[in-house]
Each structure stands twice: as C-alpha cells, then as structure tokens.
C-alpha cells in the first residue's frame, strides 16, 4: 500500500471520514453515534499519519546508517489525539449508561418522545 502515490490515498481517507461523520449525525442509536465518532476520528488519524509519511522513510528511531526517516511530529500529535479520542469515548459511553437508566432507551427518537415537546 505504501507504493500508492499521489492523492488517491487521501481520497480513501476522506471517504472513511465521511462515512464516520454520516454515522454520527444520521444514526439514532446513541452507541452507534459514538462508533461513528470513532471512525471519523480514526480516519483523521490516518490523514495525519499520511502527512508524516516520506518516501523510503524508516520508522523514526535513530539507527546507524539510516538516512531517511518518517516525520515524527504527526506521530506525536496523533498519539495525543488517540488518547483524547478514547477519553471522549469513555465519557460518552458512561453518559449513555446513565441515559439508559434515566429514560429506559438509547434511541434518540424514544428519548425525544419521553421529553415531550422538548
């Protein structure tokens, strides 16, 4: 896959992103929304890592005799972003648990119904 050149790679990433984004806004099940959010974020991670890729670059661990490395900065940023993502997921899921307990449902439509006109 590394040999795929040009922009093709980015387009795949964009397709993934949009699938995730679609799931977030269109799904009515709350867990599914969270999954969509995760797909959305993971594909942004792929975008970043693609930015960091460099032709013929080795993993950024310094070694004798290796001249070309991948760019380490996007890797660092994405490590941080992955952590932020899982933190958001954990929080979102615990909210879902509480919503289930309070409303008896995790379907958006049911919840809206139970809150009446709101």
């Amino acid at each position: 896959m590394t040999t795929v050149l040009g922009l093709y790679n980015y387009w795949i990433v964009i397709a993934l992103m949009m699938i995730g984004f679609y799931v977030v806004i269109a799904a009515s099940n709350l867990i599914k929304k969270i999954i969509g959010l995760n797909i959305f974020q993971t594909s942004v991670f792929i975008l970043y890592i693609s930015i960091g890729m460099r032709e013929g670059g080795a993993a950024p661990i310094l070694k004798e005799g290796v001249e070309v490395y991948a760019n380490p900065l996007p890797h660092v940023l994405i490590l941080t972003a992955i952590v932020v993502g899982v933190a958001t997921t954990a929080l979102g899921l615990s909210l879902i648990v509480r919503i289930k307990e309070a409303y008896g449902s995790i379907e958006e439509d049911d919840i809206a119904e139970k809150d009446g006109s709101l």
Binding site: F40, V84, L91, A102
Partner: protein, 496 residues
Amino acid sequence: MNQALSAHLPALQVIVPLLAAPLCFLLRRPSLAWPFAFVVTLCTFAAAIALFNQTADGTVLSYHMGGWEPPWGIEYRIDRLSSLVLLLVSGMAAIAMLYAGASVAEEVPRDRQILFYTAFLLCLAGLLGMTITGDAFNLFVFLEISSLSTYILISFGRDRRALTSAFQYLIMGTIGATMLLIGIGFIYMMTGTLNMADLAERLPPVYETKTVRAAFAFIVIGLSIKLALFPLHIWLPNAYSFAPSVLTVFLAGTATKVALYALIRFVYTIFGGDFAFGQVPLQYILLSMAVLAVFSGSLYAVFQASVKHALAYSSIAQIGYMVIGVGLFTVAGMSAGLLHLFNHAIMKGCLFMAVGCVYLRYHSVSIETFKGLGRTMPWTMAAFVIGGLGLIGMPLTSGFVSKWYLVLAALDHGWGGFVLIATIMGGSLLAVAYVWRIVEAAYFQDPENDENVEAPLSLLVPTWILALATIYFGIDTHLPVNAATGAALDLLGGTQ
C-alpha cells in the same frame, strides 16, 4: 524570588489550576474542596491581573515550555488580547467560586462535590490554556480538556435532561474539535509548523492554495460550533438550562468567549485579516450569521417558559453582537466586539446568578415561579433588573457602552452598516420584551406566599458584585475600553 515568580507567571497561570485539580481530588473531604478550589481561583486571578499589567503597554510576553525555542517547542504568548481574556476568565471563575460554596452544597450530592470542584478546576485550566497558548495543536489539547470537563459538569444537573444535553454537546463539540483538527492538519501540511506566530509568517505564500482555503473553512466551522454561532447553536440552550447554576454562570461568562477568542486568533493572527476578508468571503458569512443570530436568539428568548432558557437564547443573540464587531474588520468594530465580550460576561453572570438564587429557594426556574419575587426576594430581583437593563442596553449600564461603540463602528459601513444598526436596535427591542416578561411577573403579579425567602448572603454577595460591576463599567469605561482598543490595535495594526 519575586523576579523568578514573575518570569514564570505565564506557566503558573495555567499549571496552578491544572495541578490543583488532582490535589483537590485527593482531598477526599467535601468540606475542604470548596475552600481549596476558591483559594486556587483567587491565585489564578491574581496571576491574570499581574499578566494584564505586564502587557498593558503592548509588551508581548513569550514563554518557552520545556526551554525549547519555538517553533520546535510549545510557546506561550501573551499580548493585550489574550491577557484581557485571561483576566475575564479567571475573574469570572473566582466570582463563580465564591458563589459555588452555597449553591453546589445544595445542588450536587455530597459524595460527588469533590468531583465537581475537580472538574471545575480542569475546565478553568483548559480555558486558560486555550487562551494563553501560542501553538495551534496545544490549543486543541486544552480545548479538549475544557470541553470534556464541561460535559461532565453539565451532567451534574439534577434534571435527567442534563444527561441528554451533555451528550448532545459531547457529540457536537467533538465534531467541532475534529474539524479543528482537520484544519490544523491541513495547515501543518502546507507550512510544516504548528506555532501560531510562525504560521502567520509561512501562510501568505500558500494563501492561493485550495488546501489552505479548506483548512480555513474547517477551522472557522469547528470553532463556530464551540462558539454556538447561529445555526450551530443548538447544543447551547439545553446545556445552559440543565446545568447546575454555578456552571451556567461560569459557562455563560467564559466558554463561548474563549471560543470567540480562539476564532479571532485564527482569523486575525494566524491567517491574517487580509486573507480572511480579502480572499475569502468571511465577512459576509460572519455578518449575516450574526444578524440571524441576533434576531432568532432574541425571538426565541421571548417565547420561553423557563427563565434559564430565555437567558440562554439571549446569549445566542449576544454572541451575534460580538461577532458583528469582530466581522467588521476595523479597529473600531473589533474593540466594540471585545468590549461587548467583556461586558456581556459580567451581565449574564449576574443574571444567571440571580436565577440560581431563585432555583435554590424554589427548585424551579419557570416564569411561573418568578411571580411576585419582587416582594419575596427583593435583593435578588433588584440584581436581576440591573442585569436585564444591561442586556437591553440602558444608559448607565455597561451594555449601553458596548452597544454604543458597536453602532459607531457600524456607521462607517454605508448601507450594510444600516442593516447592522437596525439589527442592534431590533435586538435591543426584543430584549426589552423578554426581560420585561420576567420583570412583570416578579413585580406586578402576586406571590403565592408572601413570606420573605431572600437568598443567603453567600449567594447575594457575588450576585451583587457583578450587578455593581455592570453599573460601574457603564459609568467608568476606562479599563475595558482601553484594553479592548489596545487588543484591537494589536490585531489589526496596519489595516486601521
């Protein structure tokens, strides 16, 4: 020692509340948590005052985290704009904390109070970190700290709808943050740097590229969600309404303001006004959204059954005023927008505090509850009236000052300016309507019970501090006007 302290002040501004959070968590005694958190917010406020004074003459402070010079390391950068926002955020935090003692004791179960204060400190540190940082990615990290803690704090509300509003905010906020992340990724791709000052230098050669334009769009949209700019505001009314009272006060005074700050930072400092207003039609978009925000927010506010909802919609309208100022792309407009940012935080804080007092007594904030409160809670309602007059923009309140500057700034803009002035006037008339409804219920209808149930002093004192500040800044406009103008000059310098 003193010198060393002031040299590290930028770092301390953020790490004091940040590190205080786990310490607060370790206290394990609810009775200790509040005094501890209160002292921390006071220290933070003191640091912000010191920074404000250091930068008042236009000095720009730069602090290198880890000793690495930018753009390799993370830089903290404080100019007149960031120090003004720091002052506002930490000041509001200190006053909200003063209010929190009695309010949290009533609204949050005892075994979770420690968590509440811990999350509050994290939220404060996140907002301050967003304001002070000179690094685009660091801004994202601190945005997430403040957002996550805000979702938590909202879910502390007693109504079960607090949970769903927190969830809705979590989804929208995360989409916004992810868009910001995409935008930052794009500009990193085109420039190879994340430092804001460095970005500002390296972006102009690639202005023409589609990537940078798209990056700009993603960043503006991502931040507009956090800012609750119309039509991306739908998370705000419920989030404000179902959150615990203290949090509503704090959020209304700070969270959207910091998001606006971040927007200004990206638009004016990083991309530069010439790009944002010259090559991209940002002005039309921002101004038309702002006009719609003022009208729709105010209209909705008139028809709400809950006072908290009415005030929340009014916030959406007020954000519209600020964005009008920011979108004018002149020094006068920018300083009027910033001035309104400052004044509105104080007025809204005062109003939500008064509502919190009512909630404490009646456990409801519907407009029905407010019947006859002028008699049973005279001090609370008097403060409410002062805040309400500020929202309308009566002379002698700070709301008048900022709207006056806004009108003056719009006058320079020909026909478009008249539309804006009409919007400001129309919004103010609608404000009369929604404030009057509440005041009418409080003063011209009979209470169900004549008993005097005035709120305790511990809530009234902070409420009145903000009420008096609303009047004070309406008469002595020296401090905010100078600060806002200075900040606007820093941002727009050459394009005056």
